[in-house]
Subunit: 168 residues, 2 copies
């Protein structure tokens, strides 16, 4: 969920030699390949139209082709249907890690971070949460293989992330 | 989710003077009141028929009437729609606590516990998980106000539960 600390987890993983495949980048690559001229908003539209044209899991399948090494983080999973596609191909080599922080903590972080996409209000934040959960991300979180609670300091979280990655 | 440690959390809360309202008991009370003769299976059927007759949140509403004191645990929430009913009435007095354990840990616990409803196989366990998540419990877990990870010993979990209840 936004503001939970997923990007920090990826940073720790990278420091430990993991590579990262971002599903959003896979979409952007296709936009480029098709020589489409698009801003970020229409990239989402293209992703959607490809899902309609082929099937819902098309981006999971295209992402799978990018995974060549063992220690790879897949970023950008939207829900349980996409997860099924990864699971079918990768089996028990796939490990799902959920990073949890309470809505209150996540909201405060997003506001403090003050990025362009920071929520303007708590209502706006809750609406974004709803959208994030639309494709079954809640199920993925509930059934994750590991959950890290990230309610404390950055250093505390980095230690937890490091320890988990060591154990995998 | 089954085997995560919810019952142990309730036990700790009771020791700290909390009372518990179980939504399942509310249903059973109604069965008794209507003088219906039912085994456990048809209690589920009755709960369902009442939802059809009135509306989905009928048991949340009936449960709300049972809550008279501040320190009360509500057990048996099925999903986000029921949560909304509690939230609307209780506002910020309502605190959602998720107890997380990985599917692997939960499965092993349920098998070790060997209760009558223990899963006969991992497939059966996964199917039960699916059913549990049917009404949006994944969303409730993803958006919980607090999450306790229960992957370690019972004693460790009791300490975490106790600390959280102290902080509320």
């Amino acid at each position: 969920m936004p503001g939970s600390g997923k990007e920090e987890f990826i940073r720790v993983a990278k420091e430990k030699g993991y590579s990262v495949v971002r599903m959003g980048d896979v979409v952007r690559e296709w936009v480029k390949k098709k020589e489409l001229d698009m801003d970020d908003g229409s990239v989402g539209g293209f992703a959607h139209s490809e899902r309609e044209k082929h099937h819902y899991g098309i981006w999971a399948e295209r992402t799978l082709k990018k995974i060549q090494v063992q220690k790879t983080i897949i970023d950008g999973l939207r829900g349980d249907e996409e997860l099924e596609i990864f699971r079918k191909k990768l089996g028990h080599d796939l490990v799902v890690v959920a990073v949890y922080a309470s809505p209150k903590t996540r909201y405060n972080r997003l506001v403090a971070r003050a990025r362009q996409d920071a929520p303007g209000s708590y209502t706006e934040f809750k609406e974004r949460d709803r959208r994030e959960l639309r494709w079954g991300l809640g199920e993925v979180i509930a059934l994750a293989d590991h959950t890290i609670v990230n309610e404390g300091s950055l250093e505390e979280f980095r230690v937890k992330a490091d320890r988990l990655l060591e154990d995998l």
